[in-house]
């Protein structure tokens, strides 16, 4: 649990600050007497040139050391950008100046790996957010209305259709309408993944609504909204979190597979999937550093998310309202296994 959470947080933080961590333009600079924020400028409008229409790095290299001329710049700690081509260094092995080596187009691998983290977490976060919203609402409606209601029948069919729908076709359609890129990948992943949330929420609600404490609340005259807020939502938190962690892991994996199939983020983007695909192409030429490092990054993020899901599944505090008194079931002390539904029900009511 702890390691998983630490790794996920670490990659998330690295991804969030990657543009300010590794870039070939200054974070903040005083150029020709004007204060500029080239990294932020580049993130927002994609264009930011140093005075005299030069590359920022050339401009920076010519700055006087003592800043007596009035111009100065604060560079990111790692002064290579993900798209910066280093002439004559293509396929260089890891060295002191490039710890993870240089790729086949002459770009620094460390910078690309860091920027890949932000892409990975944008993909994971975006698709989880979108798919969990859609899935929880649809699954929630179906579960609240109860099995065999019209809502439930329609929702179940929808879940089945989206589970079996050819994802490749959906991607092609998405790419045609929205153009290849991050929004397309997120939208299509969400379209494929919302049934996961819908199924989890629907299944939990269907079993919860039969449980004595919900019946008791209904008997006390509480309305459906109040029952949902007070009794059902706290119970749903655990399963939905577990599903979210699993879906996030799968989204990161799926992005790389999509890139391999040529349906990914497109050529200009920096992602672990794109790096792996590059590494795959160069693997037979013996360029091991092109696939090893992105593979480690991807695997560590995915494993950490899976571990997080496992830990959340095993933690009873997440699956029960905070007010309930925890009572240990026989045998629970020696096992880290997930408490099954029946078991949990017994504990919550004992």
């Amino acid at each position: 649990m702890r390691i998983g959470a630490v790794v996920v947080l670490a990659w998330g933080l690295l991804g969030a600050v990657a543009p300010w961590l590794a870039n070939d333009v200054p974070i903040v600079a005083r150029a020709d007497g004007v204060l500029r924020w080239p990294v932020a400028e580049r993130l927002t409008d994609g264009f930011s040139e140093a005075p005299g229409a030069r590359r920022w790095k050339d401009w920076w290299a010519e700055l006087p050391v003592d800043a007596s001329g009035g111009d100065w710049a604060v560079m990111p700690p790692w002064t290579y950008g993900p798209g910066e081509v280093l002439p004559g260094q293509a396929l260089d092995r890891p060295s002191a100046s490039h710890p993870l080596g240089v790729d086949d187009a002459g770009r620094d691998q460390l910078a690309r790996l860091l920027h890949g983290a932000s892409t990975a977490f944008l993909v994971a976060f975006g698709s989880v957010l979108l798919s969990s919203c859609v899935g929880c609402v649809i699954g929630g409606l179906a579960g609240m209305r109860g099995a065999r209601s019209v809502t439930d029948v329609v929702a179940t069919r929808g879940i089945e259709v989206f589970t079996c729908f050819p994802a490749v076709l959906a991607l092609l359609a998405g790419a045609t309408y929205l153009g290849p890129g991050l929004p397309t990948v997120v939208a299509v992943l969400a379209a494929v993944q919302w049934p996961v949330f819908a199924r989890v929420v629907r299944g939990e609600l269907l079993s919860l609504r039969e449980r004595p404490f919900v019946e008791a609340a209904r008997g006390l005259g509480e309305g459906p909204l109040r029952i949902l807020r007070r009794h059902l939502l706290p119970e749903l938190r655990g399963p939905v979190l577990v599903a979210a962690a699993m879906v996030a892991a799968e989204a990161i994996l799926a992005e790389s597979t999509l890139t391999f199939l040529g349906l990914g983020l497109g050529l200009g983007s920096v992602s672990w999937g794109a790096m792996l695909d590059q590494g795959r192409a160069q693997a037979y030429a013996g360029a091991w550093h092109l696939w090893l490092f992105p593979a480690l990054a991807l695997a560590s993020a995915v494993i950490a998310l899976y571990a997080l899901a496992d830990a959340w599944r095993a933690r009873p505090a997440l699956t029960r309202p905070a007010s309930a008194v925890p009572v240990r079931a026989p045998g629970a002390a020696c096992s880290a296994a997930a408490p099954d539904r029946g078991d949990r029900g017994r504990r919550a009511t004992s």
């Binding site: 099995a147 069919r157 729908f165 050819p166 092609l172 795959r280 991807l298 045998g331 629970a332």
Partner: protein
């Protein structure tokens, strides 16, 4: 029995939904195969030549009426498309329907071979590892030794695993392991046994790689399921009554195996997606590759066939796994 019929009926409704969604996606203008395939301006001498090519393609796909040249309403298009998908009488350009059907059948057989081999491998490996780690309880020395490498394999995309396997083969100098296609060219005249051996050699590596993800999923699922069954109160009671350890073991394993059947149903779609990648890497003429290429080329006839057949297989798999679960545990109800 009534349950099964109901499920099949609902699955048919879902299948109809899937096929309608696919047809709608294809008929929408930017995805229109006719427009997509005539998009290259260099191919046609004039705009009129291009327009007539577009019209011809649309007529073949049934989007427009050949007599008047007007666009048909969506439902009429859909009717034609559904008929072509059921009867498989709409073949890709330059191919006789019978030829197309044979190619489709061969692709299905190839994929079925690889997928069933993979499923068998996955079940075998998953059962052994899952029961062993579950019996010793999660957190045991064996569990800790096995879990992390398995999670690591789960954390790598299939195309990378395949590449690494190919690299390892090259590095070890294993000449005997074929890495492309499903049969060695020029072996048609050999006796049946030799041809089967050739087939097995070609199918082994793809099946092994395809089995990795399902095997680990089954092992992880079974581990929890066995550990949970061991901690159940009825096991405690059985032991208290002095039931022989052998019988207890059998009962626990039987109880733990039941939920795995449902899990198998959810693994099936993953097997299909994985097959696209593996077949692509090993250039296998399988169903996944066929469907993928068809989607890339907007080949209406093949998309119609692969979408319906593929979805039907997945739906049937889901029903079969639920049915097995119900057979094993009469208390279970899916409604």
């Amino acid at each position: 029995m009534r349950w099964l019929l109901q499920r099949l009926a609902w699955a048919a409704v879902s299948l109809l939904g899937i096929s309608m969604a696919t047809a709608a996606l294809l008929a929408l203008a930017p995805l229109d195969p006719a427009v997509a395939r005539t998009a290259d301006p260099g191919v046609f001498r004039s705009e009129t030549a291009r327009a007539s090519a577009v019209r011809a393609l649309r007529e073949r796909a049934g989007w427009v009426d050949p007599a008047t040249g007007a666009r048909r309403p969506f439902l009429a298009c859909y009717g034609r498309w559904l008929r072509s998908a059921v009867t498989l009488d709409l073949a890709p350009e330059g191919e006789a329907p019978a030829e197309f059907r044979r190619r489709l059948a061969r692709a299905l057989a190839t994929s079925a071979l690889i997928a069933s081999l993979a499923l068998g491998l996955a079940l075998g490996f998953g059962a052994v590892v899952g029961v062993a780690t579950g019996w010793l309880r999660p957190g045991s020395a064996l569990d800790r030794a096995v879990s992390l490498p398995l999670l690591g394999l789960l954390g790598l995309p299939e195309f990378l695993l395949a590449t690494l396997a190919l690299l390892a083969i090259g590095w070890l100098g294993l000449r005997g392991v074929p890495v492309k296609g499903l049969r060695t060219p020029g072996t048609d005249g050999l006796p049946l046994l030799a041809r089967l051996a050739d087939l097995a050699r070609h199918a082994a590596l793809p099946a092994l790689l395809l089995a990795v993800t399902p095997a680990i999923l089954i092992a992880r699922f079974l581990r929890e399921s066995v550990a949970r069954a061991l901690d159940a109160e009825w096991v405690f009671t059985l032991r208290a009554f002095g039931t022989p350890a052998r019988t207890v073991r059998q009962r626990v394993l039987a109880a733990a195996a039941r939920p795995v059947w449902t899990q198998l149903g959810t693994i099936l779609p993953a097997l299909v997606t994985g097959a696209v990648v593996i077949e692509q890497v090993f250039s296998l003429p399988g169903f996944g590759r066929l469907a993928f290429q068809a989607a890339l080329q907007r080949d209406v006839a093949t998309i119609a066939a692969t979408t319906h057949i593929g979805s039907a297989i997945v739906l049937l798999g889901l029903i079969a796994s639920d049915a097995l679960h119900r057979l094993g545990d009469p208390r279970v109800r899916f409604d």
